[in-house]
Symmetry: C2
Subunit: 304 residues, 2 copies
Amino acid sequence: MSILVVGSVAFDSLTTPFGSVDRCIGGAATYFSVSASFFSDVSMVAVVGDDFGAEELKVFEGRRIDTSGLQRIAGAKTFFWSGEYGYDLNVAKTRDTQLNVFADFRPQLSEAQKQSDVLFLANIDPDLQMSVLEQTERPRLVALDTMNLWIDIKRSSLEAILRKVDLVVINEAEVRQFTQEANLIKGARQILALGPQRIIVKRGEYGAMMITPDAVFAAPAYPLENVFDPTGAGDTFAGGVIGYLASRKELSDAEFRRAIIFGSVLASFTVEKFSLDRLREVTMAEIRERFSEFRHLTHFEESE
Amino acid sequence: MSILVVGSVAFDSLTTPFGSVDRCIGGAATYFSVSASFFSDVSMVAVVGDDFGAEELKVFEGRRIDTSGLQRIAGAKTFFWSGEYGYDLNVAKTRDTQLNVFADFRPQLSEAQKQSDVLFLANIDPDLQMSVLEQTERPRLVALDTMNLWIDIKRSSLEAILRKVDLVVINEAEVRQFTQEANLIKGARQILALGPQRIIVKRGEYGAMMITPDAVFAAPAYPLENVFDPTGAGDTFAGGVIGYLASRKELSDAEFRRAIIFGSVLASFTVEKFSLDRLREVTMAEIRERFSEFRHLTHFEESE
């Protein structure tokens, strides 16, 4: 089963309490694709400048990732983000954002991409998300992420695309910002009322929560003694969730629950090193082992 | 099996985004005792003024609570706390604290209390916690709570009592404050290094985490659409945890996990109304039903 992802491929400059790194590989579509490719074929629609060279492209090589939809614009620069984290690793402070090639990005799908089985609309302008969705032959699962910027400046476009997706994967703070509702469950239900069947709320070190009209599922984050760099954790999580789901025939509630655990496992690797350094070296055996540890982390028995 | 609890019985004046209440019943020992009494016999050591009358004492009546150790000081006033919550119900702002009778509180245990099976040292001056522990014939389980004030002004006393307890039940922010360690797991392990076998970290709306030298257990909070007043949630949680444990012969890891779920269930009732208004009307059937719902909230299966 094939996943189509549209989103950013970027260079990031990062400072955490544990170190700094300059112009490392980043971008939502990058983290998402590498993560999802452990389970399914992924096809990217994204854009880079010619500063994103052969060395950088290696991050996608030897994986189930089709980069034929990754445009490379000669004489232009790749999207750049610079951010900083304090000891509260849940909150990034943006130092600089340079859209560069992303400013004029108009995604065009190939014929094969239009037939994708699953679509993930990573965090980009909701009008671009809509243009991608409209080019497809309605995949069996369409999921979206977004950010505070679009809630602020493109609310009606965001509402329009929210009405057309099956699954929303966003941060807790974005649920509260979008709905102006302090209670997370109430806020999530307001978003479901727009049309999506499910919402998965990302809560950083507190894990994730899935809300459907008739159930709630809560999963902790994998407890790590060394969280080095949280950049990309949310996109890696989404990649694990969607990647696993795309590999399944039936999208039952039980499969969604397992998908969330796989997403949490993948994200727990990403934060162990800068950029995709840890994610690139992870093996499926390590992923399965950590999945099993999640069982022990959350398991309890009914009384006698 | 009997529990001895030492801690505050109080009047609280509270403001939440959903309303205000003046001089309602509060105090850590109050919430703890009512919660624990669903599972075990509880004996209190606490002090009130004569403003805490027959009407107030009804909160303990008809329950497995022995109030013979609740001193009533004529002509004096009960401990008073006034606090306020914004939409972020995880953080209380203290408006006023009046120690009143609590300022001269010197707990004296009865012969029966000295033989208690389990001891819970609720959040009071760590020197008083030590004096209570020293009067006992070392119960089979000793647990303690504390607060930011004692970490600030009585650190060495707090360290001394921490070295003598089996179980620590404190807030996430207190772990970070006490250890000056941003990573919760690392911080918890620093506290375990002092002597306790287990620490249960209270995380408000994010649930609870238990850390032992060789395992971590994470449980979400019960998802509620209407959280009305978080006051007493942590003490109610501790009451459920300790109450359940005191009712068990063996204190295995599996029992601790169930205890945390029962604690979370009890706490989820407390926050639904002001003061102990909801906790007072809860039935064991409701508690068991919500316990079962926790299974569905956290349950996932291994892949096929």
